[in-house]
């Protein structure tokens, strides 16, 4: 049952190369719906196992390559973590697929779109159920490939093609480290399987070995490998130095942004960290934390704040959401580092729902405003696109973390872990500041887009039902999903860590919880009010500077220009690379080319010399010989004169000579 889940989705792809749009869409949606059903069944199975008290962790492994005594195994695993992810991926994916039929209706490359979407879905599910780090990596690369294909879907646009290339290359940087980590892990433990009845790499035996093996800088092999794997996750999930590709990835169609860059692919990095969490956690002293997790936390917190700052000053509706995604991914990573798998994953799940909702809502807005993406050209849409507005508002409040929407509970869980972190309170304050910024920029965006007067061209209209119904469904979940993780009923955490969950209001009165909830709500409300005060119901014209810009122009400019990270890369990495390419080209042409020319010249000379020898010596000698022969033959031919008397004379001469010899030899 388990293996069928991604295979069905992926198997559709081979059949999807037809110019029949409805068939393509139906195949893609049908296969993903089927995967959803299977995923739900698997989830039910795991749920049943959890409820009855014994944890479900079933895996199917098989050997793929054998060399000598070592083998490389692949396999897939069904446990609470993968079950939850599977349901989320298939469900959100299905909604987005349905949405895409409406969004991409005008596009002529409809079938190609669904082909790539299905391939992506298959690959993502492969990442989720993989029991082997190698299988995960293979599907990871496949996910990266489909992301490239989908970002650059409108490849005729040079900006889209460049964005796709940038996405692929930036994640590649992370993947190099990831691969190093995989190879090291394999070398150290001899297996890449996660769980293999005690022999897997995430199981205590292997972890103990890894902890004992030293690496550089006083780290154990476990920490080093964990950091390398985190580098791969950082690339894919847009953590701080490698986040530059995500905003540019908004060049792709909005369903792509919703699916890949909000809900699933970028979550793959977080999922990876959750999967190798035993490794990250290895050797954790009680009440403390490991090096790997510290790094994860700080990177996550920095990313959260950094991206939130940039999001404040963006004017493209999707770019705001993109930076918001980067920021929330930082939250998730910080959650993983601070509080463990359940905390980070809970935020991942809730974020998937409301971020997909927001992106799809943005797509609906773009579609309704006739492909307009600049928020300064929108406004007053709450009257014209009511369903979109309602769902978008739900998503926005969930993202901002307003009580009792889903984002509130998940973000609060992270904040709670941050507050309890022994190492430092830095992340806590950073994350709180990030929450303030989140509420602020989302209010700014909503005010620009939905309130005020309409500043665009033409008429805005509501989107068709096929696009708005997924929005409604997701909005429902954005509101309610949070209740799976409240302190009173920590179902999610219990499910993942295999403890029974009980509903008890007393959970609210655990020390600090209520205070924290009040604090975070206060922060969110402060952000909302600040945003409303600066932007609400005013409708600045498109060419007017932003309210914040009027207040702090240099800060605004810096934020709008994305804090110059791209420029930094351009000046350093890319400049170096261009220089290196020039050096390599010079080397290639002058040095290697020179050597090749020398060698060929030498051979040419040798050939000429040989030809000379050939002509004058060999041929000459041969020709001379032939001449001699023919003249000799001519001479000899003269014997054949045909004159009988000459022959007779010779004969007589010979007889005389013979007689003379005979006579003189008998007379000594």
């Amino acid at each position: 049952m388990i293996p069928a889940v991604p295979m069905v989705a992926a198997g559709v792809i081979a059949l999807l190369k037809q110019p029949r749009r409805r068939a393509a869409a139906a195949l893609a949606i049908g296969s993903l719906a089927f995967s959803l059903l299977v995923a739900l069944a698997a989830f039910g199975h795991v749920l049943g196992g959890w409820a009855s008290g014994h944890a479900v962790r079933e895996s199917v492994n098989f050997t793929w390559v054998e060399f000598g005594s070592a083998t490389v195994d692949l396999g897939w695993v069904l446990d609470p973590l993968s079950a939850v992810m599977m349901v989320m991926v298939t469900f959100v994916g299905l909604l987005i697929f349905i949405y895409s039929t409406g969004y991409m209706a005008h596009d002529e490359n409809f079938t190609r779109f669904f082909c790539f979407l299905s391939l992506f879905a298959g690959a993502m599910l492969g990442v989720v159920i993989a029991n082997s780090l190698l299988l995960l990596f293979m599907c990871w690369e496949l996910v990266g490939l489909t992301s490239y294909l989908l970002i650059g879907f409108w490849f005729q646009k040079p900006s889209a093609a460049a964005a796709a290339k940038k996405a692929f290359l930036t994640t590649r940087v992370g993947d190099v480290f990831f691969l190093l980590g995989i190879v090291w892990l394999f070398a150290q433990t001899g297996t890449l399987l996660f769980y293999n009845n005690g022999a897997g790499s995430m199981e205590p035996l292997a972890l103990g070995g890894l902890l004992a093996a030293p690496a550089a800088l006083g780290l154990s092999a476990a920490s080093a490998i964990a950091l390398l794997i985190f580098a791969g996750a950082a690339g894919k999930s847009g953590q701080l130095p490698l986040h530059v590709w995500l905003p540019d990835a908004m060049e792709g169609p909005t369903p792509v942004s919703a699916l890949i860059h909000a809900a699933t692919m970028v979550a793959a990095g977080v999922y990876l960290v959750a999967r190798v969490y035993p490794l990250m956690q290895a050797g954790m002293p009680t009440g403390g934390t490991t090096t790997a997790l510290t790094v994860v936390t700080w990177v996550g917190a920095s990313t959260a704040v950094f991206a939130a700052l940039i999001a404040v000053a963006q004017n493209d509706i999707k770019r705001i959401l993109a930076y918001s995604t980067v920021s929330q991914l930082g939250y998730m990573m910080a959650g993983l580092g601070l509080g463990g798998v359940a905390v980070g994953m809970f935020h991942l799940i809730t974020h998937a729902f409301f971020k997909a909702l927001l992106f799809m809502g943005a797509g609906s807005v773009i579609h309704g405003c006739h492909e307009e993406q600049d928020i300064r050209h929108m406004g007053g849409l709450w009257k014209k696109m009511p369903v979109t507005f309602a769902t978008y508002a739900a998503g926005m409040l969930a993202l901002a973390g307003f009580v009792p929407f889903a984002g509130f509970w998940s973000k609060d869980a992270i904040l709670e872990s941050a507050q309890g972190w022994k190492l430092s309170q830095g992340p806590f304050f950073m994350l709180v500041f990030g929450a303030l910024l989140t509420a602020f920029y989302m209010t700014r965006q909503v005010s620009y887009v939905f309130f005020g007067a309409y500043r665009g061209h033409g008429h805005a209209h509501e989107s068709p039902r096929v696009m708005t119904s997924p929005l409604a469904i997701l909005a429902f979940f954005a509101v309610t999903l949070g209740f799976l993780g409240t302190p009173a009923w920590p179902w999610f955490r219990s499910f993942l860590s295999d403890r029974p969950a009980r509903f008890e209001l007393a959970g609210f009165s655990e020390p600090g919880i209520l205070a924290l909830m009040l604090t975070s709500t206060g922060v969110v409300v402060a952000g909302l009010l600040l945003g409303w005060w600066l932007y609400g119901n005013k409708s600045p014209r498109a060419d007017e500077p932003d309210a914040l810009e009027k207040a702090m122009p240099p800060v605004w400019r810096a934020l709008r220009d994305r804090l110059y990270v791209d420029e930094l890369y351009g000046a350093t990495v890319i400049a170096f690379y261009a220089w290196f390419a020039r050096v390599a080209d010079w080397l290639d042409r002058r040095v290697w080319g020179g050597i090749v020319s020398l060698v060929t010249g030498f051979f040419g000379l040798w050939a000429k010399f040989n030809r000379f020898l050939d002509t004058y010596w060999v041929d000459g000698a041969f020709d001379k010989g032939c001449e001699e022969l023919s003249s000799g033959g001519g001479l000899v031919a003269r014997v054949q004169s045909g004159r009988v008397q000459t022959y007779l004379r010779l004969l007589a001469l010979a007889v005389v000579v013979l007689a003379a010899i005979l006579i003189w030899s008998s007379h000594p």
Binding site: S641, R643, V644, Q645, L648, A652
Partner: protein, 103 residues
């Protein structure tokens, strides 16, 4: 009795004349005549050695000479036949002109 040397000398003389004729004459018939002379000179030699040999009364020498004459006759016939056939080809009996070996 004339001594053996006399006969041998005559035979040698005839042989030499025959050889000279065979080797130097231009006409093919004259070459054949020279060959006949040589053969006859050899016959003379044979008879001389028979007469002055150990068994002069036996017929061995005569037999030998008769054979030789017969063979010479046959050979002359064949030679003349050849000359006639070549004459039909090249229309001349001049040996110097008969140096084409092409058939």
């Amino acid at each position: 009795m004339t001594p053996l040397a006399g006969y041998l000398l005559v035979a040698a003389l005839v042989f030499a004349i025959g050889l000279a004729g065979a080797l130097t004459r231009r006409n093919a018939i004259l070459v054949l005549i020279g060959i006949e002379l040589m053969l006859n000179a050899a016959n003379l030699n044979l008879i001389a050695f028979w007469r002055f040999g150990p068994h002069p009364e036996a017929l061995t020498g005569v037999m030998f000479a008769v054979f030789s004459i017969a063979v010479a006759a046959a050979e002359a016939a064949v030679g003349l036949g050849l000359v006639i056939s070549i004459y039909r080809h090249v229309r001349t009996a001049d040996l110097d002109k008969m140096n084409r070996m092409k058939g």
